[in-house]
């Protein structure tokens, strides 16, 4: 809930990889949402025009929502957009905020990496039981492959945020976003 302004990305090869991941995330997000809209609208049209629901529509949406969610958490971390209660945090002076943000980002990254590890375990067990999507008929574990990737990317984002705060004089909400109260662009708040 703090207000933000955008800052240039990380330097060098790290920055290039980082930018590339960012583009991939936003592509998945946008395409995922548009496909979901198309699929859901097609299902409505199918029911009205052809009197037949698309039986795979629900499963396609299930695949897309996993994709959107786990591409989106990394993207949200990159832009400092995860919902948080910053009332107390905001009362602190810059240095204290910077130190607290190092702690927050480090701990969050650790949690994300553990979730990544646990979700690999879950995928392995789902693969072992051979559970299938009822209509589309392919193994369910395939639609979850995004999950550990999403957690890992989010974990990396928060690690970089911790690093950024450790090496700067300002408090950063993410690698790209300085935490302060000026230059608000309401269009970006949604």
């Amino acid at each position: 809930m703090s207000t933000t302004s955008r800052q240039p990305s990380l330097p060098g090869i790290l920055g290039a990889i980082d930018r590339w991941i960012g583009h991939a995330e936003s592509l998945i997000l946008a395409v995922g949402v548009l496909l979901m809209a198309l699929n859901t609208i097609a299902n409505v049209v199918g029911r009205f025009v052809f009197g037949e629901s698309l039986f795979f529509a629900e499963e396609v949406n299930r695949i897309l929502i996993v994709m959107i969610t786990f591409a989106g958490i990394g993207y949200a971390a990159r832009h400092g957009r995860h919902i948080r209660m910053s009332a107390f945090y905001d009362l602190l002076p810059v240095t204290a905020r910077r130190i607290l943000m190092i702690a927050i980002a480090t701990f969050t990254a650790m949690v994300m990496f553990s979730l990544c590890y646990f979700s690999i375990g879950y995928i392995a067990s789902t693969q072992a039981t051979g559970r299938l999507l009822p209509t589309l008929g392919f193994p369910i574990y395939l639609i979850y492959l995004w999950v550990p990737v999403g957690f890992a990317v989010t974990g990396i984002q928060y690690s970089l945020t911790a690093y950024r705060n450790a090496t700067s004089r300002e408090a950063y909400l993410s690698t790209h976003v300085i935490d302060h109260y000026q230059d608000v662009d309401p269009e970006k708040q949604v």
Partner: protein, 427 residues
């Protein structure tokens, strides 16, 4: 175990961690304590993914997408112009118009923040220029935008419906009565405020101008027709209505108004995807958190400890109202709905209360809680969007909070305010 989880969760929350962390860490600790280590973490992941599985949740990104398109297009402006043409000239007309426009835009958007941006941003400068004080203006915008949460579509209601297994269609219809009641109370207050403070009135629109304004607003007024009429008339399920709204929004802003270009669609979809992911990761970890509570049978223990099973229906409703109100002063409404709904579910079932009524009351309470000082998510949103200091933002809220609490009491006393339209529609 419950105590450890709760203390940990509040500590992480207060320190300013992203809200998924307090929930998921509390859940992890719950798993660790229940299963003597990390041997059963597969189920934690299963429940995170299970949380985002229900088909009805697809309505959330669809309504966000429709609102995102609307917010960037011409619809909000046209709705405001129509309302102004009719009631702008009465005493307090500009303020009443703000409340009414928020309600109308609420019929397009499921999010209070989108309403603050789309209606609050253009109308606040006009109100200040007309002589309204800023604390009043800010409080009016924040609280009127909360009506968007009650008027369908409502993301809060979709989440409540999915978690509690309640019909989202019925919840939507039942939210209309209380939403209009609050608009009425706010409007009365606006008229009184303008009279007491002697705010000058606006010029009256001619009938010709009114006809033009109505004609301009007809297109955006198609949204409530699709949502309410579609569900009421048996044309759409809520998810289908959401998809129809997206299609309609695209046709309106891209083809008829020609405000947006195909290239904009990419940016809009990206922003919708981002908001969806931020909400859905909370839905997922919230589900995992509820699972471990339910596994350890904490809700039952907690509720019987509070003596809630002997309170009767009204007692349970009041307990729910207070819990949601207080929680929303600290935490995002989405998180509150995710965490508290399953906790109270056994009490609601055993008292035999209509789950639709509970859903409406909960939605109202989270709206009030998020606009109430000292902490309320809406307050921080307003600080961010309008760049005003905390004290100025909260100074005008007390009368609004009083009116909202009054409407909560009215709904508990006269459930028909919520259920009348539902019974009419589904009978």
């Amino acid at each position: 175990m419950a105590t450890i989880m709760l203390v940990l969760m509040i500590a992480l929350l207060v320190l300013g961690f992203p809200m998924m962390i307090p929930l998921v860490v509390a859940a992890m600790v719950g798993f660790w304590l229940s299963f003597d280590g990390f041997g059963q973490m597969n189920t934690l992941i299963q429940q995170i993914l299970g949380g985002i599985r229900p088909a009805s949740l697809i309505a959330v990104p669809m309504f966000i997408l429709a609102a995102d398109i609307m917010t960037r297009g011409h619809s909000a402006e046209r709705l405001i112009n129509m309302v102004m043409a009719f009631i702008g000239h009465i005493r307090g007309g500009l303020a009443v118009s703000t409340a009414a426009s928020c309600t109308l835009f609420g019929a397009v958007s499921g999010s209070t923040q989108a309403t603050v941006v789309a209606i609050g941003s253009p109308l606040r400068p006009r109100m200040l220029k007309a002589g309204y004080k800023d604390p009043f203006t800010l409080a009016l915008i924040i609280n009127s935008s909360d009506i968007a949460f009650l008027i369908p579509p409502s993301i809060g209601m979709i989440l409540y419906g999915v978690i509690s297994g309640t019909s989202i269609g019925e919840l939507f219809i039942a939210g209309i009565g209380p939403g209009l009641l609050i608009l009425l109370l706010f409007s009365i207050y606006c008229v009184i405020y303008a009279t007491v403070k002697g705010v000058p009135t606006e010029p009256k629109a001619s009938w010709k101008e009114r006809v033009i304004a109505v004609r301009q607003a007809l297109w955006p007024l198609g949204f409530p027709v699709i949502i309410v009429g579609g569900i009421y008339g048996g044309v759409f399920s809520p998810t289908e209505a959401a998809a129809a709204c997206v299609l309609y929004a695209v046709i309106l802003e891209f083809i008829i108004f020609r405000v947006l270009k195909p290239a904009d669609l990419y940016a809009i979809a990206k922003s919708t995807g981002l908001v969806t992911a931020v909400v859905f990761i909370l839905v997922g970890v919230g589900n995992a958190f509820s699972w471990i509570l339910s596994f350890a049978q904490i809700p039952q223990t907690l509720l019987s400890g509070l003596g809630i099973y002997d309170m009767g229906a009204n007692g349970v409703l009041i307990a729910i109202a207070i819990a949601f109100f207080i929680a929303c002063m600290f935490v995002d409404p989405i998180v509150v709905i995710l965490v508290l709904t399953p906790i109270f579910a056994p009490a609601v079932a055993s008292a035999g209360i209509d789950p639709v009524l509970v859903g409406v009351l909960i939605t109202l309470m989270v709206a009030i809680g998020s606009a109430t000082p000292p902490f309320g998510c809406d307050i921080f949103t307003a600080i961010a969007i309008f760049k005003r200091p905390y004290w100025e933002v909260i100074r005008g809220t007390p009368p609004f909070v009083l009116m909202l609490v009054a409407s909560a009491i009215l709904i508990i006393t006269f459930p028909q305010i919520a259920l009348f339209l539902r019974d009419l529609a589904f009978a």
